[in-house]
Amino acid sequence: MLDINNLSLSYGTQKVLQNLSISLQQGEIGCILGPSGCGKTTLLRAIAGFKSVQAGSISIKESVVSDAKQQMPVAKRKIGVVFQDFALFPHMSVLKNVAYGLSKLSKSEAHKLAEEAIELVGLNDAKTKYPHELSGGQQQRVAIARAIAPKPDLLLLDEPFSSLDPDLRERLSSEIRHIIKQQNITALLITHDQTEAFAMADKIGVLHDQQCQQWGTAYDLYHEPATEFIADFVGEGVFIPVKVVAYENDTGSTIEPSEDKLLWLETQLGRFLLPEEYLVNGTFKAGDTAKMLVRPDDLRHQDESVLKAKVVGRAFRGAHILYRLSLNDSEPLLCLAPSHHDHKLGESFGIHLEVEHVICFPN
């Protein structure tokens, strides 16, 4: 549906994005996540056709809409955009706003489509009202209705929830996801807020350093981050130092050495087998030092566990408490424990390791 291939964007001599490739299937919701100033908005403007492309291509429905040579006019792309500040016309009623992009159609047709879109976002009662008479959440819905009324092939949302209150943000984002899914609309959202990205998107791309660091599901980003930046940027976690050592089957482990190239990761928490994909790449060799990602959910709290750490910090989060733990005076680890396991600072804290994904980066 949406295919972006090796896209490079720049302003004058200043490069913004390089070799970016992402794609979305019909009905998928994608999300571009990144800190402010990483080029998210530039990408969105390039897809909409407001900005020219320096290299690579953007295709919608298998036809190229932008590449270095040509650029399809904005109006012909069949794209809907929900702007960050909504950009509703203050002098037009809700109905007029929504019908604005339907002026090519006959009056009755336009009216019908606009009413449908308004119905869809649940604003039937506010049809004749003006934007300044609406709440922020309602304005947001009008903006969505206006963008989807002409039945676009692709819907772009530019930080659609950033101007709303946090709790409204959460409710609206699930509502809007529902609408988009129900209409089988392909959508691309940009945001700097990961909870928003996790709540809305099927596929997420993280922009950093002019690159798309990874394009995958929220699960992938969290549990199998492709780069150190993503590991750090998405979710919580700490890096612990590891030493890469040659595999010796001296522990009575059940793992059968299929090849003698297997490597151990030696940490203060024990030894882990280096996953095979790292072996293929040849990133590590015996004797290297590296760092391993430990997420708060990789550590399980068990009072009876033999492995004991000391509580050096705690943050109450309602259902859970996020503990900061120190093991042998090392860098603190994070552990998310159910809230009724209430341990004071300095207390000893039994932990049990359940590392499902071993993620490791060279130093």
Partner: protein
């Protein structure tokens, strides 16, 4: 009424001396407005029968056509200039941006007689036509400058900046996103202008148009010089020619009805423009225009300035430098000094009064004080002739009573101490220009944080000390610009000065007008060009302020 007076007294005592001041000064400045307003209720049938049988229909139709014509002309010129300057980058845009406001420095009566000199039968243009084509007067037709349509065109040329300033701010505040929405919807730029940009700027444009129409209704010099009978010329003639103050004040009251309609339109538009405020995200980016199109746009934008300022200014300069004879120069210092003294006294008094109003409101914000401030800011809408009559009536009454009183007890008549002196002039100026000063002092005082007052209070300042130690030093810039604006406005003011000036007291404006009326256009050039040159000062300040707003929006 009783309740109202009681409440007034109560709120006066609840506040401080500043509140008492604002009530007394407010009542004093409101007096002329009330005099005119109430004279309308002392309906005199005989006067109206006479008026409606003779001149009234002409006054009404001319005034209405003039106001609408100027409103229309100024709106068209101001809107297209604002749209182009906000949305296009072309060679020479910075120069145009600066020059576009220059016509503000050109009073309508001066541009009127300058163009008359240029375009009438003996003027250089017609002479050139006759000489080139060897024609006589009967052979060709040339439009008559001294006509209602001439007045409309010339006034539009100097009043369009009122629309331009407001429209420009409105256009430049429109978010770039709006254009993108239109692009996404496949709406053409022209359609976008009519469906989105123009409707959004409509309240601002209408406010500017209403202001231009008020100025047109208030004009006296142009229409009198062109021999077009309007309310203002009628009021002047009724009083000066026939000495009939009663008829003059009745006519003034009638004119005020039109003015109040315009005030309503203006106020309503201002309120609308708040609802329509579209200050979201980045402002529209100007599009680059190069080559021939750039040159065309430059020419298109320079036309109003060329006709509204450059041509008349060059003509005035030529007259002054080439033809003025030295004997006229002898009187010039006297008018210039009279004007300067009058404008200096006026601006000091008016700015001081405005400052006290603003400070009183800050100390004890109450409905009463705000109400009086609103009342005294109404003066800007009232024509100078009307204010003159409104000042003359009560001051004349006081003078008569005073003379009777002193004659009775001391056998001595001091004469017209109020109505026949500079006092009456300053009074009239204060009524007319108080809002100009108040705009500045109000905006300035609102920028001072309330914590400043609290800090000064805690450290033991009295309200008066606070005014001098905190507010006046912080308001220096506002006070100076208020003073300059009032100074220039007084310098340019014609009708009230003409009616109220003491016997044989001439100012630059009065002299310029009298000389022009006597068809001594060349001699009128020197006082005129003086007024125009001084008038450029506030234009410079205004340009800078607008540039500042631009930078904030960018």
């Amino acid at each position: 009424m009783r309740v109202g007076v009681n409440r007034l007294i109560k709120s006066a005592f609840k506040g401080s001396a500043f509140t008492v001041y604002s009530i007394l000064a407010g009542a004093l400045l409101g007096l002329p407005i009330f005099v005119i307003f109430f004279s309308f209720f002392y309906w005199d049938n005989a006067i109206w029968q006479h008026l409606s049988a003779t001149v009234l229909p002409k006054y009404i139709s001319n005034s209405v056509i003039l106001a609408f014509g100027v409103g229309f002309g100024a709106t068209i010129l101001g809107t297209y200039l604002a749209w182009i300057i906000v949305n296009y980058h072309f060679y020479g845009r910075r120069v145009i941006q600066w020059m576009v406001l220059l016509p503000l420095a050109m009073p309508a009566y001066i541009i009127a007689y300058t163009y008359t000199g240029l375009l009438d039968f003996a003027g250089p243009v017609q002479t050139l036509i006759r000489d080139t084509f060897e024609l006589t007067a009967q052979d060709y037709w040339f439009p008559e400058v001294r006509s209602l349509s001439g007045a409309i065109i010339l006034m539009s040329l100097v009043l369009y900046p009122y629309v331009y300033i407001l429209a420009r701010t409105a256009f430049s505040e429109q978010s770039q996103k709006y254009r993108e929405v239109s692009q996404l919807a496949g709406v053409s730029p022209l359609k976008h202008f009519f469906k989105v940009a123009l409707p959004l700027a409509r309240p601002a444009i209408m406010t500017g148009g209403a202001l231009a129409m008020m100025e047109a209704l208030a004009d006296f010099g142009t229409v009198e010089y062109f021999g077009v009978s309007t309310f203002t010329t009628g009021i002047y003639r009724t009083w000066f020619g026939m000495g009939d103050i009663k008829a003059a004040s009745q006519l003034s009251g009638f004119l005020c009805l039109f003015v109040f309609i315009l005030i309503m339109i203006e106020r309503m538009s201002r309120r609308d423009s708040q609802n329509y405020s579209s200050r979201q995200g980045k402002s529209a980016q100007a599009k680059k225009v190069k080559g021939l199109n750039g040159v065309l746009i430059f020419l298109l934008c320079s036309l109003p300035v060329v006709f509204g300022f450059i041509i008349p200014f060059v003509q005035l300069a030529t007259w002054t430098l080439r033809f003025s004879d030295l004997s006229n120069l002898a009187d010039y210092p006297e008018y210039a000094i009279n004007s300067a003294i009058l404008a200096s006294i006026g601006s000091v008094v008016i700015v001081a009064m405005a400052l006290l109003f603003s400070y009183a409101k800050r100390l004890h914000p109450s409905k009463t004080v705000s109400g009086f401030i609103q009342l005294v800011s109404l003066g800007y809408a009232l024509p100078g002739t009307v204010i003159a009559i409104g000042v003359l009536v009560p001051l004349g009454w006081v003078d008569i009573k005073l003379n009777i009183f002193t004659n009775m007890w001391f056998n001595f008549q001091p004469g017209l101490v109020f109505s026949g002196t500079v006092f009456a002039l300053i009074f009239a100026y204060a009524v007319r220009f108080m809002s100009v000063a108040l705009n500045n002092t109000e905006a300035g005082i609102q920028r001072i944080r309330p914590s400043m007052d609290e800090a000064s209070k805690v450290l033991g300042d009295s309200p008066l000390q606070r005014l001098f130690r905190i507010h006046i030093p912080l308001l220096k810039a506002s006070i100076l610009s208020a003073g300059l604006l009032v100074f220039v406005d007084i310098l340019k003011e014609l009708p009230a000065t003409l009616v109220l000036r003491p016997f044989n007291f001439n100012t630059l404006a009065v002299k310029a007008f009298e000389l022009a009326s006597d068809e001594r256009l060349i001699d009128a050039a020197l006082p005129s060009i003086t007024i125009v040159l001084v008038g450029i000062l506030p234009v410079i300040i205004l340009t800078r302020t607008l540039d500042g707003i631009d930078r904030k929006n960018a």
